[in-house]
Amino acid sequence: MREVELLIIGSGPAGLCAALSAAESGARALILERSFRPGGQLVKQTHMFFGSERQYASHRGVDIAELLLKKLAEYGERIELMLNATAVGFYEDNVVTVLKDEKEYFKIRAKSVVCATGAFEKSLAFPNNDLPGIYGAGAVQTLMNVYGVRPGNRVLMVGAGNIGVIVSYQLLQAGIEVAAVLDAAPRIGAYLVHASKLARMGVPILTSHTVKEAVGTDCLEAAVVWALDEKFKPIPGTERRFDVDVMCVSVGLSPLNELLAMRGAEMKYVPQLSGLVPLRSENCETGIPGVFVAGDASGIEEASSAMAEGWLAGLCAAAKLGYVPADFEARRREYLSQLENLRSGPVGERIRAGMKLSLLEGGMRDV
């Protein structure tokens, strides 16, 4: 069985930064990535990121992935990236089973593990929601921005969070019409600068609206939507029909972390973090010593915070392995203060509440 010092599962911004951070301390890391290309969500993001300059704000997501991968290459063999390699099991003694290229199946034992597996998309229940032409926002983005394929001609976007609004804008950039953006909530969830970009392109944003049903025989032909009252109950008589060949569902993400549950980490449902999350210390260590979590897998947030958590988890995982750099405490505090800063505003309020609920008892060290 192959033995490694540090195993990182997932090569999104959190996993890549964890690897860089650990390697900087002197540790050796192996990154497993189930996709054929590294970068996680970043490779689909053609828009400029908000956030702080320290987390590459104002760069486009896809370029941030390039930047991180270039840095990774500087560490040579200290960091190994294995693509088309899915972690399928996580057992006692940190044994991880891996399916590579859908044919090889083998085990790896790691002294330390960082789980940076990201998130999965939630779906929405309505009649005929299985018609071809109804996609998740992630699929539309992948088709359009990774493969250069138009998903259709006229789109109804369901969900006015950051993802729904940003993907709508990218659809317009690809020359695809966006009929409207709906959201059941009475207010737009996205950052309003992003919503305004869409509004001034003439795309109506309909808050307090949801899908009544999808219409079509072999594929989507139209969508019927209706308004919701303050109690989120549909108001009969407010139905509107949009003739669209694509419906894009973007109603949120949930943390993807079954591997940690399988390993026996204590999990808790925390609505503010959008699902089941592992309890952890402020250093991103779960209840199982040497097993860390970072990025969306620990609660849905943003790439900026995923990167800061990755740096923190990589630093602390390396320290567990005995690689304690002279400036360990200074670096640890720096990452913690970056996270605190990113989460300090009104939009970070939910995250702050969620973090408190997901902290291991005694997990907060005195600073």
Binding site: S58, Q173, A199, R200, I205
Partner: protein
């Protein structure tokens, strides 16, 4: 309403505009960022320190109309495309706008386009004076347009005429 539609109310927009006297002196930035979000590239982009966010990255950017020289460096750096430059010094009847525009094909200098308001509604004709798209703008081109002065507070976007039909 802003939080339901994404369209800022006229009085909110007005508050972000520099004084007419300042606009008539030369180019100056209008920073339409209304919400506390963790974001600060505008502050870092400005060589003159004219945009201030401060220690808390969530603060709303404050632009100092006297410090701002209207260079436009912040325009293509803002991920929210929330910044534009207005210049009322060229003529008493018109205003020059510099706005970020991320759609292809780009317009050409001399072209007449359809000016749009903040809800994307047709507003006026606008004349394209210049299109800048250097590598340093990182694929956020900036288009300079001449617009009748009465649309100073309502003009915000444009559409190429050819696109109107299909």
């Amino acid at each position: 309403m802003f939080e339901k539609t994404g369209v800022a109310a006229p009085e909110m927009v007005l508050e972000k505009f520099p004084s007419v006297e300042r606009i008539n002196r030369g180019p100056v930035a209008v920073v339409e960022c209304y919400q506390k979000i963790p974001c600060n590239p505008c502050q870092t982009a400005c060589p003159l320190g004219a945009i201030e966010i401060g220690d808390d990255i969530n603060n709303i950017p404050q632009r100092d109309e006297e410090l701002c020289g209207g260079c436009g460096l912040c325009v293509s750096k803002c991920p929210g495309l929330a910044i534009m430059i207005v210049d009322g010094s060229k003529s008493p009847d018109s205003v020059e706008f510099r706005i970020p525009y991320e759609f292809l094909p780009l317009p050409a200098a001399g072209e007449t386009v359809l000016g749009l308001d903040r809800a994307g509604r047709p507003l006026c004709r606008a004349k394209v004076l210049k299109v800048l798209n250097p590598p340093s703008f990182d694929r956020t081109p900036v288009v300079t347009l001449e617009v009748e002065r009465k649309y100073l507070y309502t003009f915000r976007n444009f559409r190429r005429e050819a696109e109107e039909h299909g």
